[in-house]
C-alpha cells in the first residue's frame, strides 16, 4: 500500500473517530481506535479516547464510570500494539 493511500486511510479513520466520539455510538470510536492502532503508531488513538472521556466521563460515576476507560484503552492500544506493529509492518 502506497504511503499516500495509507495516509488517506489514516486521516479518514481519524475523522470518523473524532466525529464518532461526539455523535455516534461508543463502539464506533472504539473500533476506529483498534483499527488505527493495528496499522499505525497513531497519536490520534490516544486523542480520540481522551476526547470521548472529556465529553462523557464524570469521575463521580458508578462502578463502570469511575475510570476514564477510553483514555486508558487508547494508551493501551497505542503502546500495547507497538511491538506487533514493529514486528509485522516495518520489517
Amino acid at each position: 500500500m502506497s504511503y499516500r493511500v495509507s495516509n488517506n486511510i489514516r486521516v479518514l479513520l481519524s475523522a470518523l473517530g473524532f466525529v464518532g466520539a461526539i455523535a455516534l455510538p461508543p463502539w464506533v470510536p472504539l473500533l476506529v481506535m483498534a483499527m488505527l492502532s493495528l496499522r499505525f503508531a497513531a497519536w490520534e488513538v490516544i486523542a480520540i479516547g481522551f476526547l470521548v472521556d472529556m465529553i462523557w466521563f464524570s469521575p463521580a460515576g458508578g462502578i463502570v464510570a469511575s475510570l476514564p476507560i477510553f483514555t486508558l484503552l487508547g494508551l493501551m492500544l497505542a503502546w500495547g500494539l507497538e511491538p506487533l506493529r514493529s514486528e509485522f509492518l516495518t520489517r
Partner: protein, 263 residues
C-alpha cells in the same frame, strides 16, 4: 530495515510519546481544576452536535434527495410537489413532537419548580450512559438535580452528574453498571443498569410482578423511574429475571425538565 523506515518509526514513536504526555498532563490539570477541560470539551461538543443536527435537518427536511429521485424518474412537477408536501409534513411532525414535549414541560412547571432544558448532545454516544443538557448553574441546575421526561408527572430519566455554567452532564438512572433500588408490586428490586434506558434484576419467582407495572425509587423521592418490561423464569427455578425500562425513548427526546433533588 532501511534508514527511512527507521526514521519514520522513531518519529511516530516520538509523536506517540508527546501525545501520551499531553493527555496525561491534561487529565491531571482537569482533575486539579475541577473539570475545566471537560467543561470546554462539552461546550465544543454540544456546539458541533447542534450544528450537525441543524444541518442534517435542513438537508433531509428540504426533500432535496427525494426531488433528485423524482427528476431522474421524469415526473418532475408532481414529484416535487409531493416532496414539498412530504417535507412540510415532516417539519410539522417535528414541530408537533416538540410541541407535545413542551406541553409536558408546562405541566411539570405547574406541579413543581424546575428548569426546562434542551438535550444538546447525542443520547447514545456515551459509553458511560450520560448526555448533555443546555442548562447549567446559571439557570439553576445543580449537581444531583433530578431530570424528568414524559407526560403528566413524568419519569425520572437521570440526575445531573456535573453542572457547568450553561451545559450540564446528566447520568441516566439506568447507566451501564449503575445500581439503583426500586419498588414494584410491594417488593424492593435491586436494579442493575444496562444502558439505553434498560435495567435488570432477579426476584423470587413467587413474586407476582407483571409487565407494565411502574417502578418507583426512594432515591428519587418516590418518583417513577421505569416500568417492568418483561418477567421471565426457567421452569423449576426459584428466581425470575425482571427487565425494567424507561417508558420514553431517550433518542427521541428533545427537552427534559430538571427539578432540585429534595423536591
Amino acid at each position: 530495515m532501511s534508514s527511512y523506515l527507521r526514521n519514520e518509526r522513531v518519529k511516530a514513536r516520538r509523536r506517540l510519546l508527546i501525545a501520551t504526555l499531553v493527555v496525561l498532563l491534561a487529565l491531571v490539570f482537569d482533575l486539579a481544576s475541577g473539570g475545566m477541560v471537560r467543561g470546554a470539551a462539552r461546550v465544543a461538543a454540544s456546539a458541533v452536535w447542534s450544528a450537525g443536527s441543524a444541518a442534517s435537518g435542513a438537508i433531509f427536511g428540504s426533500g432535496f434527495f427525494s426531488s433528485k429521485r423524482g427528476l431522474e424518474a421524469k415526473i418532475e412537477a408532481l414529484q416535487q410537489e409531493l416532496t414539498a408536501q412530504q417535507a412540510l409534513t415532516g417539519r410539522l411532525e417535528v414541530l408537533e413532537r416538540e410541541n407535545t414535549q413542551l406541553r409536558a414541560m408546562v405541566n411539570f412547571a405547574k406541579q413543581q419548580r424546575g428548569v426546562a432544558a434542551p438535550i444538546v448532545s447525542s443520547s447514545n454516544s456515551s459509553p458511560y450512559g450520560t448526555f448533555l443538557i443546555g442548562a447549567g448553574t446559571l439557570e439553576g441546575v445543580a449537581e444531583g438535580s433530578i431530570v424528568l421526561a414524559g407526560s403528566e408527572k413524568g419519569f425520572v430519566i437521570g440526575s445531573v452528574a456535573e453542572a457547568g455554567e450553561h451545559i450540564s452532564l446528566v447520568r441516566e438512572v439506568f447507566a451501564p453498571g449503575a445500581l439503583v433500588e426500586g419498588l414494584a408490586g410491594g417488593a424492593v428490586l435491586s436494579l442493575e443498569g444496562r444502558g439505553g434506558g434498560n435495567a435488570r434484576t432477579e426476584v423470587p419467582s413467587a413474586l407476582a410482578l407483571s409487565s407494565g407495572e411502574p417502578v418507583t425509587s426512594t432515591a428519587f423521592a418516590g418518583r417513577v423511574i421505569g416500568i417492568v418490561g418483561s418477567v421471565s423464569s426457567d421452569p423449576g427455578s426459584a428466581l425470575a429475571r425482571v427487565f425494567v425500562r424507561v417508558p420514553v425513548s431517550l433518542s427521541e427526546l428533545q427537552f427534559v425538565y430538571v427539578v432540585p433533588r429534595l423536591e
